[in-house]
């Protein structure tokens, strides 16, 4: 899919999408990350991870996410 087609699908300007793609702009807002995931048929979690933030549904449970991560890290370290 071209950048032009993707911009049309997620309803943002080509200039803005290009700046995101070239890492010249701040990470896009949640709704755009979700729209990009749908348009590209990618897991939204992957794109939120690429944008270096938790998906919105996990953001309210940051403590749980950290706890699970720490448990897994400790388990890996003990192997």
């Amino acid at each position: 899919m071209t950048l032009t087609e993707l911009a049309r699908r997620v309803e943002v300007s080509i200039a803005y999408l290009s700046r995101i793609e070239r890492e010249r702009e701040n990470p896009p807002p949640d709704h755009l990350v979700s729209a990009l995931a749908r348009a590209l048929d990618l897991p939204a979690d992957d794109l939120f991870a690429a944008a270096r933030r938790l998906p919105p549904d996990l953001r309210a449970r940051t403590e749980d996410v950290i706890a699970v991560y720490r448990q897994q890290a400790a388990r890996r370290a003990s192997r």
């Binding site: 032009t4 080509i14 290009s18 990350v33 590209l40 690429a50």
Partner: protein, 141 residues
């Protein structure tokens, strides 16, 4: 409408060759004649210039411009910027112009600066689009 402009330039790099003041005014005249035919104008209306700059023929090369006015523009370090003109290797012969509408709003004195910037871009577009196509999308990570 396609705005056609021609000036002395290097064929391979597309950079403008050194020009005299008169030659630069000559380029400005080319634009004025097309945007305001039959009228003697010194200052061009910025909105009209932006509309007309959608499709251009610069030194025989067709160039399209895409504008974004709808959001903040940042300088790559997260600091807000007034705007930026760029080319993307994935978009051959397209120039991307992003203007920070929030910073520009209610600051009329900036429109003059923007007009100057937009005009100066006429000499940069040819070089800016002189890249290779690379259709890739990636986010951070």
């Amino acid at each position: 409408m396609t705005l056609a402009v021609a000036y002395a330039h290097d064929r391979s790099s597309r950079e403008p060759r050194p020009m005299t003041t008169q030659q630069i005014w000559g380029v400005a005249d080319q634009v004025r004649r097309q945007l305001a035919p039959g009228r003697s104008v010194v200052c061009l209306d910025l909105e009209r210039l932006i509309r007309a700059a959608g499709r251009m023929m610069i030194n025989g090369i067709a160039i399209a411009t895409h504008w974004d006015f709808e959001r903040s523009v940042h300088d790559g370090r997260g600091r807000e910027a007034l705007g930026v003109t760029e080319a993307d290797p994935a978009l051959p012969n397209i120039v991307l112009i992003s203007l920070n509408a929030k910073l520009i709003a209610e600051r009329e004195y900036l429109t003059n600066r923007l007009g100057l910037g937009a005009s100066r871009n006429l000499f940069c577009f040819g070089v800016a689009v002189n890249g290779n196509a690379k259709p890739v999308l990636k986010l951070w990570g």
